[in-house]
């Protein structure tokens, strides 16, 4: 999946003034690739990801996924993309991980035995197979981050958007997930845009990397 961002602008109203976060941002991602997005806190990484996830509307500019317009074809973008964001708080705390994943799988059209099989396979691969029966409220941050990866990959997306890739993950878990991302890129042609603060990870595993500064991406 190719992603093309042209002249993207976004600002927010804060305390009576307007703060520009993204300014005339351009980015071209050719299928398949793993792109590492870096930058200091508050530089606009999450805002960019949320725009790509259709959760925030841009002020101006154009974003296309294989030619499809982000604003006009939001439902299509959500169908082909998977999101890993705010893992700890985006699950139902009173439900088990398995119940959560069954629900979110159902939302994305993956249900029944397909959902169970994929959940089991991904959970085992990421080392949380033994936690599926645990309520989300009782799971650690790392387990929830891995569950968020399982949720994002259940419907085999062509694009994966990951906020804070390494958040709460130990080295072994990072390796397992990186291996899976690379495998998806090679076998399914998945494009992954991963926000990270780990320059070494970006250097070792990403095909390209960029840093947001002054509202733009510098490669």
């Amino acid at each position: 999946m190719d992603i093309s961002i042209n002249g993207l602008n976004k600002g927010f109203h804060t305390a009576g003034s307007r703060k520009k976060v993204l300014t005339d941002l351009h980015l071209e991602l050719k299928n398949p690739c793993i792109f590492a997005l870096m930058g200091p806190n508050g530089s606009g990484k999450t805002t960019l990801l949320k725009i790509l996830a259709t959760l925030i509307l841009p002020d101006s500019g154009e974003v296309r996924f294989n030619g499809k317009d982000l604003v006009k074809d939001g439902a299509f973008i959500r169908k082909i993309a998977g999101f890993v964001m705010d893992a700890e708080h985006s699950f139902y705390q009173m439900l088990t991980l398995e119940e959560n994943l069954k629900f979110f799988g159902g939302l994305r059209g993956v249900s029944g035995s397909d959902c169970e099989r994929r959940t089991r396979e991904l959970a085992d691969d990421f080392g949380i197979g033994g936690f599926l029966g645990e309520k989300a409220a009782h799971c650690s941050s790392g387990t929830m981050q891995k569950a968020a990866f399982v949720r994002a990959l259940l419907h085999e997306p062509s694009v994966l958007l990951v906020d804070e890739f390494e958040k709460s993950l130990d080295e072994d878990s990072q390796s397992r997930i990186t291996r899976r991302l690379k495998n998806l890129k090679e076998t399914k042609g998945t494009t992954a845009l991963c926000v990270t603060h780990d320059r070494r990870w970006a250097k070792d595993h990403a095909d390209a990397a960029g840093t947001i500064a002054g509202g733009r991406i510098e490669k």
Binding site: K10, F12, H13, T47, K50, A53, T54, L55, I56, L57, A75, F76, R78, K79, F83, M85, D86, H89, S90, F91, Y92, Q93, M94, L95, E99, K102, F103, F104, G105, G106, L107, R108, G109, S111, R151
Partner: protein, 254 residues
């Protein structure tokens, strides 16, 4: 269909976590039905029990649709799951409508509990016109859900309780003939009451469940028109609110 089943499954799983809650709801319905049964015996008007029971079912149905979308959105904002829900590959408004499905099933069970208790435990006789009842139910879902979507739009954008919805619910309970016939009002209030579409809707409910009179084509057409207008207003409102919060960038904020 996947979306509806997913929400039904989720709500069943959540209810399972709070089993006592279901018991309390059923107990509350039983107490309410029993109170009005004995009240009708005390005032020596047995027909009042049937009158008020249908009123209670109607009121429960109206309040359910008025509040369900706003409550769902508020709850998802509080839990932090709203953005995850809105990542579903469907139009957001469809996700919001589907999110009520599980609770709608519980609401139908609650309504059926009123009817079954009335008939089986307290000996009330129903003369059901099933076709008319299903038709008015459908038309009223459109109208009441439309109002509910307006309220949900308010919550989505302003993140605060809709100040009007409780007042609307109170007005309907007071003026539409839920607890007593509107004929007991002084003339000026009666005119207001008769102007409310919910008063006419409740009349049709009573006719279709108790066989208390005839329903004309005009009565049903009015409900259809009202349903279409309110649903259109609801859809415009919720779509505008979602677009507004996406512009502001605080969709998931509480």
């Amino acid at each position: 269909m996947n979306l509806l089943l997913a929400f039904l499954f989720r709500d069943l799983a959540v209810e399972k976590s709070y089993r006592f809650n279901l018991f309390v709801k059923l107990l509350a319905i039983f107490s309410q039905v029993a109170i009005f049964y004995f009240l009708s015996r005390y005032i020596e008007k047995p027909e009042y029990f049937a009158f008020v029971l249908v009123g209670l079912v109607f009121s429960s149905f109206f309040q359910f649709w008025l509040n369900v979308f706003a409550e769902n959105i508020r709850q998802e904002q509080f839990w932090g799951t709203l953005e995850a829900l809105f990542s579903a590959p469907a139009e957001h408004v469809y996700v919001i409508l589907s999110s009520s499905f599980g609770k709608f099933v519980f609401n139908i069970i609650g309504m059926a509990t009123y009817v079954v208790l009335g008939a089986v435990v307290f000996g009330m006789v129903f003369r059901l016109n099933a076709a008319l009842f299903l038709l008015i139910l459908l038309l009223n879902v459109a109208a009441f859900a439309g109002l509910g979507l307006v309220s949900a739009g308010f919550i989505t954008y302003f993140k605060r309780g809709d100040p009007a919805s409780w007042f609307v619910a109170l007005l309907v309970d007071l003026l539409s003939g839920v607890y007593f016939p509107v004929s007991v009002f002084p003339e000026k209030i009666r005119r207001v009451s008769e102007f409310l579409p919910t008063t006419a809707a409740l009349d049709i409910w009573r006719n279709s469940l108790l066989g208390t009179g005839r329903v004309g084509f005009g009565d049903v057409a009015l409900q259809a028109l009202w349903g279409a207008l309110l649903m259109a207003a609801g859809l415009v409102s919720i779509n505008a609110a979602i677009r507004g919060v996406k512009k502001k960038g605080d969709l998931g904020n509480y």
